[in-house]
């Protein structure tokens, strides 16, 4: 085809693009991912029995704050990485800082305890399933994020996939807090972090080939 013909074709009645289109789409992904995770919690895992009481406690919101901040970092990084000329550096530094603060808080709590207490906190009641549950809950959101990204213009597929995973993982882990009754920083710092990072790694793996255009 001649280039002029192509231009004529493309320029015929271009659909208007609203301002903030990128942010809007990722917000949509966050809502869809959260709803899907919520449905999975309600029908599969069920909410914790003491949810109403737990919501008045500090630890419930501490967990939610950590994972929501990870999701926010992922959102910010995606908003940059979805553009061909976007610089994700500050978003990545923010995400790393959030992670370090909460992991260090967990380590500190662990080091201040006796070895037996430390092991009890580390295992909690659900250490074998925590990361896996977060991964499962995040899959719909991850798929949605990758589908949206395929129509954008990321130039760093693996890193963008990782950000998509951290974003979806953060959202899913926040919803997972409605089910998970663990209430120590040790547990959250280790297993929630691991869960979100696993989703990030999966996103990077898929992104490597799915985010080429």
């Amino acid at each position: 085809m001649r280039t002029d013909d192509l231009i004529d074709q493309l320029a015929t009645d271009p659909r208007p693009i609203r301002e903030g289109a990128v942010q809007r789409r990722f917000l949509g992904v966050a809502v869809a991912g959260a709803l899907a995770a919520l449905v999975l919690v309600l029908v599969w895992l069920h909410t914790r029995h003491d949810l109403a009481e737990a919501m008045t406690g500090r630890m419930f919101w501490m967990k939610a704050t950590y994972t929501a901040l990870l999701a926010l970092a992922g959102f910010w990084a995606l908003e940059r990485l979805a553009r061909p000329d976007g610089a994700p550096r500050r978003a990545l530094i923010f995400g790393a800082a959030v992670l370090v603060v909460f992991v260090v808080a967990g380590l500190t709590q662990g080091l201040l305890s006796t070895p037996e207490q430390r092991m009890i906190m580390l295992r909690g009641h659900s250490w074998t399933v925590c990361a896996g549950n977060i991964l499962t809950l995040s899959l719909p959101g991850l798929a949605a994020a990758l589908l949206v990204l395929r129509r954008m213009a990321p130039t760093r597929p693996a890193l963008t996939g990782f950000a998509a995973g951290a974003f979806a993982g953060g959202v899913a882990a926040t919803i997972y807090g409605l089910h998970c009754a663990e209430s120590t920083m040790v547990f959250v710092g280790v297993w929630y972090t691991l869960g979100v990072l696993v989703v990030g790694a999966l996103g990077a793996l898929i992104g490597r080939w799915a985010l080429r255009w």
Binding site: M1, T3, D4, L6, I7, D8, L10, A11, T12, D13, P14, R15, P16, I17, E19, A21, V22, R25, A82, R83, P84, D85, G86, R151, M152, A153, T155, R212, W213
Partner: protein, 180 residues
């Protein structure tokens, strides 16, 4: 340059709001600049230039939602072009293995450019005396291998081997310069 940027950006903003004539003008102005961009970088495969121009224009169109209205337009558009160019090279690299003699064509293609004759001279100067004479004789003066070999005082077979090595070294040197 900055005047062009202001003009392109204004057209892009109109296009994003659905203004078809402004958008068409944007694409054709951008097309010209993209052509120049790819021509500069694709001397070895000029036949692919127009494909890349079209692929980039299509990417500009289908991915225009990723343009941030607060940012300049040119870096965004050429970031798309660069991605397409790198992708093109990556796909190419798998198939193409370049025989040594092709470097002669590469060198010839560089020739019309001002300064390249000097580059070639400088690259030649880094070769050993005998190799330099052979390259001059065969590739520049047009002598046969036997003639050039006789002039350098070696057999035709030895001349062939030496010339092969010289062209390889020369090609690497020229290519290193183009990459740098």
């Amino acid at each position: 340059m900055t005047e062009t940027e202001a003009r392109l950006k204004a057209l892009m903003l109109l296009g994003l709001d659905g203004d078809a004539p402004a958008y068409r003008l944007l694409l054709s102005l951008l097309g010209g600049r993209l052509r120049a961009y790819f021509e500069r970088r694709m001397r070895d495969a000029p036949g692919d230039v127009e494909d890349l121009v079209q692929e980039t224009l299509m990417a500009v169109h289908t991915r225009r939602a990723t343009y941030d209205r607060a940012q300049p337009f040119t870096p965004w558009a050429f970031a798309l072009a660069r991605y397409k160019l790198i992708d093109h090279w990556r796909r190419r690299k798998i198939r193409v293995t370049v025989p040594i003699d092709d470097y002669v064509e590469v060198l010839a293609a560089y020739a019309p450019e001002p300064g390249s004759a000097m580059d070639l001279e400088r690259a030649l100067d880094t070769l050993p005396q005998r190799q330099r004479d052979l390259v001059r004789g065969v590739k520049i003066e047009g002598l046969s291998l036997a003639q050039a070999g006789a002039r350098a005082g070696v057999s035709e077979g030895a001349a062939k081997v030496a010339l092969h090595r010289a062209l390889k070294a020369l090609g690497e040197r020229m290519r290193g310069r183009a990459d740098g």
